[in-house]
Symmetry: C2
Amino acid sequence: MPDSTTTVSAKQTPALDYIFHPRSIAIAGVSKSAPGFGGVSLGFLIACKETIAAGGSGSPALYAVNPKYDEVEGVRCYPSLLDIDGPVDHVISSVPAHVVPQLVEDAIKKDVKVIHFFTAGFRETGEEEMAAMEAQVVARCREAGIRVLGPNCMGLYVPGSGLSFMPGFPDERGSVGFISQSGGNAGDMVFTSAARGIRFSKVVSYGNAADVDEAELLDYLADDPETHVICTYIEGVKDGRRFFHAMKKAAAAKPVIVLKGGRTEAGTRAVMSHTASLAGSFEVFDALCRQVNAVRVNGVEDMVDLAVAFRFGAVPQGPGVAVVGGGGGFSVFAADEINDAGLECPVLPDHTQAELREFTPVAGTSVRNPVDTIALFQPPLLQRTLQTIGEAENIDVVMFHNGFNWGNARRTMAMAQDIDPGAYMDSMIQQMTAARDNSGTPVLVVLRPALDTASMEAVATFQEKCWRAGFPVFQTIPKAAAGIAATYRWQLGRRSG
Amino acid sequence: MPDSTTTVSAKQTPALDYIFHPRSIAIAGVSKSAPGFGGVSLGFLIACKETIAAGGSGSPALYAVNPKYDEVEGVRCYPSLLDIDGPVDHVISSVPAHVVPQLVEDAIKKDVKVIHFFTAGFRETGEEEMAAMEAQVVARCREAGIRVLGPNCMGLYVPGSGLSFMPGFPDERGSVGFISQSGGNAGDMVFTSAARGIRFSKVVSYGNAADVDEAELLDYLADDPETHVICTYIEGVKDGRRFFHAMKKAAAAKPVIVLKGGRTEAGTRAVMSHTASLAGSFEVFDALCRQVNAVRVNGVEDMVDLAVAFRFGAVPQGPGVAVVGGGGGFSVFAADEINDAGLECPVLPDHTQAELREFTPVAGTSVRNPVDTIALFQPPLLQRTLQTIGEAENIDVVMFHNGFNWGNARRTMAMAQDIDPGAYMDSMIQQMTAARDNSGTPVLVVLRPALDTASMEAVATFQEKCWRAGFPVFQTIPKAAAGIAATYRWQLGRRSG
């Protein structure tokens, strides 16, 4: 991975930490109402306003800048940065590329600390003139002590610091950090993982990486006490040596999950159009990840699954998986899929099978493993089933397979038992928690996706109850198996490393 | 795949067709309200009642049998089969195993044509006594001319004939046939594929396959004029030679998608617990599928994707895929993922790129392929984009990537344009249809899954509009790519075969 640009040492400029804690934010070039990218720039304003409102006192001030308006969405709008009374630490620029030089001069006069250029149309266009302009803008900022995010990126989401780039992101802070060369993927990761209990310390979409880059961000997150798991989406690496050292340090400190864009020839070409990065040799990149024990994945969905596995501690001590629930056909797939993932689905010990048979009817069930049982629908027996299995000496993790889609059949049973669905779920969580805590074996939940809006509400409710009680939740057995297998291999790598 | 049981020739008993068109249905042993399997047996009654109500005149009569009740869910209930006045063609048995012999004698007197034994607890328990009882029951039925479905299965779903085994299945008939050794997988397939426009001609869950088996059912579906695509879930094969001939005939007639349970050692063990089948050598099974050009998949989700691809004609003439929409990061993944699937994502010809540039802004977009453009959100330009790409000489299929999750940003844009969401979707469908029809290139839709209930309604609405207009819909680029790749390879196999 050769250096593809002239690297300016990060030591010339202040440390990265203050970027995440601005005293005030100004959104320059915000459009009041416009289709296409105008909607996105308005989204920055709404997103920051929401995040600031949720943050309470100590949150930064928020300003809009556009000579056309007096206010946008209730936020006061100024003709230029220089017209704002108080200090401005963080500028989000949505102005067109040709207006950028003037904005930079204003920012220098205003003693701005960081400019995030949402503005695209620079180096990634493939035009020499625009690449030169990008270099000039960045050089001018850096010589004035202003750090640059982007250009061509969505910037920062830091719950608690008033920074956000998409309306609707969760208000809560969390322990997962994410650096992403794509704003779309960053938004996707935040939205997709929210329902599974993932909350973020810092999310950085850094685009063309003209100044702040992947190595500096990795280095920062490795030391960040708020961040326990690091996720990364990387298209190209600016400086192979710096990147290797940053990865090595980060992966030694905490789990690092790596999603690489541009694994194939066509993907490499798309990377060039997207952020003008050189994707480099994928083989070299992959070898680097293996060497430092970073966990590589191939898509955002897989990254969410691994973040869930690491965040909720689904790191088993051995490869033995028990599967409970889901029916006979699912049991067959589950056994195949756990084998496919490189784990084991061993026959339960005779004494465990005998114990299960004490309360499991013979017809239509199996207590071997996978365990196919109707005891799960009879609340007092759920705990007994999960706990008995968790205590088996060849089982390192229990997968509890459940769903709420077969609405009518399920509702019929609940009606028959005169049970309130919310209370039924709470009882399940209590039993799962007791089984996990008494057996000392991790329990994870495979919760089938909803097929209609009624099921979606049930699934969402149960899912939140699960992760709030500390259970990792996956959508399918293969996803759960891949998650466990990765954390298991990661742990073996740490032991041997 | 050796013959594991004594095979009785199917010629001794009437042909299979009348099984799918009963004059009346009796559900024996239905439980009025009970947890566990009682809920499932009640579900049969509710499901058939729903299906009969939707079918109108000519639908079969429905009876319940249980000495404990006079009616169940508004259906008249008789003490025994013999107390029913009219003829009974189809019996669904939920009675316990020890009551089965009496039920069979009653059925013989009543001149019943087929008994579906939901009843489990026979051969799959692994107990010799129960295996012997299963053999006796089946032998007694066959000598009396009664065909047997199961035991240990969910039976039939035939929209239009009043047969169904799960409440909430679609009323509409369709062109996909499915034979499944697991009722859970059959239910899963029907529910999961419903929202993607898949409707069924016949679904058969056949469990232990003590009488009616996979070979006979395949043979039937190969000739069935209502069935254009055949899906199968098979755990074990009773008679390798018969199965091979049935598969060969079926796969020569129409696309056959095969899901095999018991691919690994653990899966093979689960198969034995589930339906007492011998899973056999997976290598032999896989080779057989390749030889006859049947398409093998590894899970129900994959089977749904392929059913969608074949049903909605996503069979491209060549390997060239264009991807449109989704943003820069998604474009990178898409290119990688299409390559992973063995297809191509070629650079668009210069003249196509030039045409696209006439209405696509430079900043933040790409017209190379994947095409990352905001023109998609400006209705008149969607058709122009898709059609221009579809006309490119190196493109055989266009993937249109879309979603409704980024709620606020999307709503902001829609508000800005004063557009009603339903009308906006209809305009999209019109433009997609025109682009497809004018260019003669298939267009398929990648529609990201919903993350909240509001998005779910939008996704469900748009999805239905898509498939009703004949567009196949997939959830992700890898799933779409796998679907296309499989239909493309299938077509190459037909040409060479």
